[in-house]
Symmetry: C2
Subunit: 490 residues, 2 copies
């Protein structure tokens, strides 16, 4: 019966990796007119994946395997994850799922129109339905304390809202203070130091060399160009990254590639032999994001990294030859407030997330009405950033997530930031990791992540994984120390 | 029941178009290490496609629909095709199919090694097994006259070996004579006239403009680079071509693109609403090849075409500016013998096919033993080409087809050439088509092909289609006239 569960899980993986390949193709290569039939193909595949994972056969094997139990921790972990996902998929009646799909589709459309006109009231009725739908789903799924738990858990297994709040709430003031100080400092850093000509082919060359140097395996992966960068795995040995290019600033694609390569290294480090089983799968968004942020920020914006790579970049881009390394570093770590989350820098990013976490939680708990959302957003934003959003397009309408039903997702971004600092600090407790990193040799760091994070798959819940890897569940201290050192130090 | 058959056929098309997308990705983009899992994905999909098309459910609906009959010719044609393919798939026992798959896999490997060493004897035992397997399959499938019918029919619905021979045999001497005269003329044409620098980006620009001008829809298609050029459809509105580039000769990729775009125009001209049903599918290889050869040779190597495009090419490639149009035309239509089929030009190509047709037929009928194959090849080659293959790598070992079990495939190439000339001549009976083509306006020609060929899907068998479109089944006269005019005229 356990073997049958494995067989079905691997069959589902064949289908979902195939769907991932079609998705990737749609983003990178597909001619425009292909979109309609591609949607049919993807709809068909996701129907088959759902069928396999919710079948009576699967349920039967699962119940039998649970009754038999297992002393093998991997088997126990796989059963735990299968049970969770089986329940998630079967606790919702088919009509509700169909209603949900229809709602997301019309709401996404309504959101795009409302954002274009910066007109929250036209989106409000849809958001009301989305929140109602989220509550109905949470009620069916069940939750320990509050409905937001059930939504958050879909992205971050085992996470409880109150635990997140216990970490986020106490650092709100610290984060705001660090951001304010960093932004104040940033005002004296010229914004146009790097402005120059950076042809795409040369950016690609540098990106590739750097991605390779941190361990991304191009024999089992590649980089392409898309409007919205992403990383996707489409098999145990096939990881695709994408980026976009700014012809006036090479660091835009480079940090994008470091971020996606961080996701990609996690993907490439999962145990290939267990592909399709929970023990071979990434454990959560908060852990995934810790890996992308680790390489993007802790490695990619550090002095040792650029001591190594700035001379190489200056070889490739003549514009850089007149620039000093310390000015370059100050520039890439320059902080400034932005109304827009996706444009935010490391020093200010989490304020955007705390804002959303608070609002999502209140919407779900019914302590914030949709009618009051825009005002609440603007008030909270003003408190955190000291400036007032000029319109809803640059306020509560800026993100696509809610319109797709993605309530709870944002929270994993700050969780990822906290995890990244905590994992980086723990790895650097190892003298070999630390001294190599000081010479821009990240093989020991990657090796540590491989052992402590990647190779574990989903055998442990995210917080248990953090505890094994670092000695404690997610805490804020390492991240605050990192931000202070980077933005307030010197 | 007919509706159920349509539903199952469309479901199979969802799976096979998905497999086509994975195949395309493998040829164009997939990182090397992805190959193993990709094979698993493709194996899984083809298993599902096979299951759906051979299920008891499908059989039941098919029998019921056949018993009910239909006066709608499209329905009747779909039932006819479903019956043919259902029988083809179900008449072979599973063990035989598995043995066949294993045999192709080892034989392909053995062939590659034998060719590398130019050592036919090491491949001979595999070829013996392949021929035996082909005969066993033919016996199970059944055939009107001789086993080769059953193999040929898999590529060219309804084709009978004796009918093919009745067309091929009488023109053997004519083709050899035309080739000899063309090669003799070719000797006085300098081979290096076009030798120059043709950067890929500029080749791509010209290729794209030309493909667009003959009607290839880039909104529903694209061109990529691969070692072996091909055209594949992965949905009703998504047709992908590939080509390869010779940096010293822009015509190599250009004629490749015209050839593949010819296949692509057929694909784009199939009725999209019937995608997945026989009435929405290309009818045979011999008709498909007629379309690629039409645009590659009848259009692409003609004077009116280059009166239009040579000045454009000379704008793009400075090297061409010193060359006269008539020298250019003579060069691109220069004939020379080659030992290798894939390097052969229009004047000599069919001799390679007649050679293979004769040998395949004799192998299947048992009138040629494997032990005598290499000698028979060389003797026949010498008769046709007046030169002796220096080794088996340039003789009977050159093609991959047999090693994959593809006996009967070659025949459709010459059939395609004959069809292309016959269809081109028939279309040019229409004064509008002819006068527009004289000014390199091929919209009326494409429109004629759309109406007479593409839009028909598989509603008629190939030879019935030829008869409706041109007034007769495949004949040789138009093709011989074309070759004589091109290579012996003036």
């Amino acid at each position: 019966m356990y073997d049958s569960l494995c067989r079905i899980a691997r069959e589902r993986a064949l289908l979902s990796s195939t769907a991932a390949a079609l998705d990737w193709d749609q983003e990178t290569n597909m001619p425009e007119a292909g979109v309609e039939y591609r949607a049919e193909q993807l709809g068909y595949l996701s129907g088959k994946i759902h069928e396999l994972g919710t079948s009576a056969e699967f349920r039967g094997h699962l119940e039998a395997a649970e009754a038999a139990g297992s002393s093998d921790p991997e088997v126990a972990a796989n059963l735990r994850e299968w049970r969770y996902h089986f329940d998630r998929a079967t606790l919702l009646p088919r009509e509700l799922v169909e209603e949900d799909t229809r709602l997301s589709s019309v709401a996404k459309h309504a959101w795009a129109e409302a954002r274009a006109k910066s007109d929250f009231p036209t989106f409000a009725p849809f958001l009301q339905q989305l929140v109602d739908m989220a509550r109905r789903k949470a009620d069916l799924w069940g939750y320990p304390d509050e409905p937001y738990d059930a939504l958050l858990g879909g992205y971050e297994r085992g996470a409880k809202t109150s635990d997140i709040a216990a970490v986020f709430d106490p650092i709100r003031a610290d984060l705001a203070e660090i951001a304010a100080a960093a932004v104040e400092r940033g005002k004296s850093v010229p914004a146009d130091l790097l402005d120059g000509d950076y042809p795409i082919a040369q950016q690609q060359e540098l990106n590739r060399r750097i991605a390779e140097s941190i361990g991304f395996d191009f024999n089992a992966g590649r980089i392409d160009t898309t409007t919205h960068p992403f990383c996707t795995g489409m098999g145990p040995r096939d990881t695709r990254l994408t980026t976009r290019y700014d012809l006036r600033d090479f660091t835009s694609s480079l940090f994008g590639v470091l971020h996606e390569a961080g996701h990609g290294l996690y993907d490439q480090g999962l145990p290939a032999a267990k592909y399709g089983l929970p023990s071979g799968e990434a454990v959560s968004l908060g852990i995934h994001e810790s890996q992308s942020r680790l390489w993007e920020n802790h490695v990619g914006r550090s002095l040792p990294f650029w001591e190594m790579w700035f001379p190489v970049a200056a070889e490739i881009f003549p514009h850089l030859r007149a620039i000093k390394l310390d000015s370059f570093l100050t520039t890439i770590n320059r902080a400034a407030y932005s109304f827009i989350r996706v444009e935010a820098d490391e020093a200010t990013y989490d304020l955007h997330i705390l804002l959303r976490f608070g609002i999502e939680r209140r919407l779900l708990n019914g302590t914030l009405a949709i009618a009051d959302l825009a005002a609440a957003w603007n008030e909270e934003f003003t408190t955190l950033f000291g400036m007032v959003p000029p319109d809803d397009a640059r306020g509560c309408l800026q993100d696509i997530h809610w319109s797709m039903g993605g309530i709870g997702y944002f929270t994993t971004y700050t969780l990822g930031n906290l995890n990244s600092a905590q994992l980086f600090a723990a790895a650097n407790q190892n003298p070999e990791v630390a001294s190599a990193a000081n010479m821009a040799d990240y093989a020991p760091l990657l090796d540590w992540m491989r052992r402590s994070v990647h190779s574990r798959g989903s055998t442990q819940l995210p917080q248990d994984l953090m505890e094994s890897a670092t000695g404690s569940r997610t805490i804020a201290a390492p991240y605050l120390a990192h931000l202070r050192s980077r933005f307030l130090g010197g």
